[in-house]
């Protein structure tokens, strides 16, 4: 098995120290940082997402894999920066007001960072105007919102409404996720996209950026 496949495998097993070691080995062996990222870390994380979706693995496995992904990213980041691999874009992320659940949002942040986005993570219980203000200040073109509760998901609509009112809706796109929300709900509240997991969020955000 090649080094990149081993990175992907150990990432799936959630072995963070080993993923860090193997990433260092791959760098020392002269593999391109972008290759290590795409065919090692991200390939591993995508497989984890797929297995989670099929109920082959469960949340603890995903959380350990995310930890391992961060361990690998920590080794790679200085090289990616030095090589000037362009930042794909900037995303403001948070769990909506009244909602303290951040596991899903954190996984999406890991995946987006892995895919080359700069993520401005506002944490949980984020008020609608904070989402909008953060996007305006940072120039981020996408706002990602997460909710786990049926009682907090309506707060997402306040953000899409604020963007409309301030004439920002064409410049700042919105994407939502979380157990109670759906593509239908996204349409209903005027959000631009819905993602069902971290890997899907990366695809959708890329599509949103390309659509301009």
């Amino acid at each position: 098995m090649g080094l990149l496949e081993r990175i992907a495998e150990t990432l799936q097993a959630g072995e963070d120290e080993q993923v860090g070691d193997l990433t260092r080995q791959a760098i020392a062996a002269g593999l391109a940082p972008k290759e290590i990222l795409d065919r090692g870390l991200i390939a591993g994380m995508n497989a984890v997402g797929e297995k989670f979706r099929c109920h082959e693995i469960f949340l603890p496995d995903v959380l350990l894999a995310a930890k391992a992904m961060i361990a690998g990213m920590n080794e790679l980041k200085p090289l990616l920066v030095r090589e000037g691999i362009p930042l794909i874009g900037r995303v403001v992320l948070g769990t909506v007001r009244g909602d303290l659940h951040d596991i899903g949002k954190n996984l999406v942040a890991v995946m987006l960072r892995g895919a080359g986005f700069e993520v401005i993570d506002l944490g949980n219980d984020v008020a609608p105007d904070r989402f909008v203000a953060a996007a305006e200040e940072s120039g981020a073109r996408v706002i990602g919102m997460s909710a786990l509760l049926t009682t907090t998901m309506p707060a997402m609509q306040e953000v899409t409404r604020l963007l409309q009112e301030r004439g920002l809706a064409s410049r700042v796109r919105t994407i939502i996720g979380g157990a109670p929300v759906s593509a239908d709900f996204a349409r209903q509240i005027g959000a631009d996209a819905y993602a069902y997991d971290g890997a899907n969020a990366v695809e959708r955000v890329k599509a949103l950026m390309a659509a301009e």
């Binding site: 109920h55 949340l59 603890p60 496995d61 959380l63 009682t151 707060a155 209903q188």
Partner: protein
């Protein structure tokens, strides 16, 4: 009042109450505020809601302390009020039970179960919380519930077996003679029922019983039909008596409100199947109302009459 476990073991079926959150929101709980904030600010609302469920025929009312562990309350800056939060909820429920008893001329038995939900924290190694911190948090909550006079402890909506076991053990240490119910939340997958943390029914049944739970089962996450299947999965393992508290189906969003589709009649029409699978405490979870509990009460009473005739 004692006799709760005796009733269950003597094959009696007890009806528990239904959802709390939706009733609190209808009485002005602001979106995003912790439900437990009502305990300190407006405990009379809790007494009113418990009264509605007792009127509907519930034998057991649960305290509004689902998020009453200090670790969970810390998210709202209320950790140091944990004792007050838990005590106030028990007092309110006890008053409602006393009123219902008095109304029935002292001829009615009803019990208060102290609700104990997840801390909202993840244990090491996948999270950052140590087992001893979690144990300490449960102990503080459960001690307050027991000292304020609950008749049972209801550990519920658990997805991590380790966390559930820590709560059950803490309950048994704080009050060895108080019955403990322990319920986990399962998802239906192509490979069977698992919690989001990967615990199947067999591991849940064995782990909860070994920790000392007197009644095991499931609450939340599913409508009544899936709950019947989960109860049967427990039954196949010989696990009983069971507690089952189904949601009124899975929520749809209409306008700004979540709508739970299963009617009281639909839920009650599955009561006999739940009882046949070994359920001895039957109640409702998210989306259920006093009307769901009233329908369950009738179904349970009808079942008892049929059994007596047979």
């Amino acid at each position: 009042m004692s006799g709760l476990l005796e009733r269950i073991r003597a094959d009696g079926v007890l009806v528990a109450d239904g959802a709390m959150g939706t009733l609190l929101i209808a009485r002005g709980l602001p979106a995003g505020a912790p439900p437990e904030s009502v305990n300190l600010e407006r405990p009379e609302v809790l007494e009113e809601i418990a009264g509605l469920y007792l009127d509907a025929g519930a034998d057991i009312v649960q305290t509004n302390t689902f998020g009453g562990s200090p670790l969970k309350l810390a998210a709202y800056g209320l950790a140091d009020r944990a004792e007050d939060v838990n005590r106030a909820a028990v007092t309110a429920a006890r008053r409602a039970v006393a009123a219902a008893r008095a109304h029935a001329g002292g001829r009615r038995a009803a019990w208060v179960a102290g609700s104990c939900g997840p801390t909202g924290r993840l244990l090491e190694p996948y999270g950052d919380t140590r087992p001893d911190e979690m144990s300490e948090s449960f102990t503080r909550q459960l001690r307050a519930l027991v000292e304020a006079g609950v008749d049972a402890i209801s550990v519920e909506t658990m997805t991590d077996l380790t966390e559930a076991v820590l709560a059950v053990r803490a309950a048994k240490l704080v009050a060895p003679r108080i019955p403990v119910f322990a319920a986990m939340t399962f998802d239906a997958t192509p490979r069977g029922f698992f919690t989001i943390m990967g615990v199947d029914v067999a591991r849940a049944a064995a782990g909860l019983a070994a920790a000392g739970a007197d009644v095991v089962g499931s609450n939340c996450g599913n409508g009544i039909e899936t709950m019947v299947a989960i109860a049967r999965a427990f039954a196949t393992l010989g696990a009983r008596p069971l507690i089952v508290q189904a949601n009124a189906g899975l929520p749809r969003l209409e306008g700004d409100a979540a709508i739970y589709p299963e009617t009281p009649e639909f839920m009650a029409s599955h009561a006999a199947a739940l009882i046949a699978a070994g359920a001895r405490v039957i109640g409702g979870c998210c989306g259920t109302t006093p009307e769901h509990i009233r329908a369950l009460r009738h179904a349970v009473d009808r079942g008892a009459t049929d059994a007596a005739r047979a």
